[in-house]
Amino acid sequence: MHEAALAHQIIELVKETIREDSSLRERAVKVKKINLSLRRPYTVWPESLEFYFTEMVRNTELQETKLVFHEIESKDQNDQNDQNDQINELSSFFASRESGLTITSIEIDDD
């Protein structure tokens, strides 16, 4: 269910990016793709996020926009020597209270 909240955040960030760039704002650009990097632990199910996003942008200027996920490789989870590092990494990641999901870029129609 929190994918709905994340989809909403993505829409807000993309609209804000366009709003704050006068050249984009004036051209009424069409956003073709939103590129998202995804690193483990995901804290999100991509298909669910895509579902909520599609529903939320229906009949808006983003209705033809696609979400594209790019997974970032993480360390080998089976490496026992790195187990403590992995615990520390997990702890600091969740202590930072962020999502494993970052908007890396948007691709707009040049026409």
């Binding site: 702890s91 969740f94 707009i108």
Partner: protein
């Protein structure tokens, strides 16, 4: 044409969370975000914790619930400000909801705020509310496998209470096994085994939290 953004999806929530945290600091208010699965004992713990903390601190509660005000009603006998947030099915509280709830509290008249999050061991882990302390409550009836199964939320907790320890023998669960399972995921967080219905079992937790509040308040001077 590609336009770089490079922003974490939760950047807006984090920014509002920071504003909330700055506001708490300005007013010297210590704030706890209480997280657990439904039925783990958050409200019962809160009922008995309030009996202790309202003696020394001007306290308020922000109650998160999907649809009802049942938990708020249980706390009303303490005669403290309570703000109800109904998420209408939403699975977590976020920083914006807390910011809105703060509009209904007289911050200059408070020292301590308990936020009771929506019962859920998954979604609240990613959403910073601006709290000073993230408290996770695990009930022994949930089983010793939960730290590993819900590693996200255990890893991000700053203090962990194991509740309903009086039921451990009935559930055939060894508290030490739960503690060692938690420590595999989060070696740093202090752990307090408690029975929320037994006021005396909360002494260590109350004393620890008391010190944490005082350390914070000293730092804000």
């Amino acid at each position: 044409m590609e336009i770089k953004i490079l922003k974490n999806v939760l950047i807006k929530n984090s920014a509002i969370g920071k504003d909330n945290r700055d506001l708490f600091w300005k007013h010297k208010i210590f704030t706890l975000n209480m997280i657990s699965s439904p039925g783990a004992g958050k409200t019962t713990l809160l009922e008995n914790s309030l009996a202790y903390f309202t003696k020394n601190y001007r306290t308020a509660v922000i109650e998160g619930d999907l649809y009802t005000a049942k938990d708020s009603e249980r706390l009303q006998s303490h005669n403290i400000p309570i703000v109800q947030i109904n998420t209408e099915g939403g699975c977590h509280l976020d920083a914006r909801m807390i910011s809105g709830a703060l509009q209904n509290l007289k911050l200059e008249e408070l020292d301590l705020i308990f936020i009771e999050n929506v019962g859920n061991l998954v979604c609240p882990s990613s959403f910073d509310l601006g709290e000073n302390l993230r408290v996770l409550i695990l009930s022994v009836t949930e089983g010793a496998d939960k730290p590993e199964k819900y590693a996200n939320i255990f890893a991000g907790a700053e203090v962990i209470l194991i509740n309903k320890v009086d039921l451990a023998p009935l559930c055939k669960i060894d508290i030490n096994t739960i503690i060692s399972e938690i420590k595999k995921i989060n070696p740093k967080a202090p752990i307090f085994p408690v029975t929320a219905t037994d006021y005396n079992s909360l002494n260590d937790w109350n004393n620890w939290l008391d010190k944490a509040i005082n350390n914070y308040r000293n730092a804000t001077r």
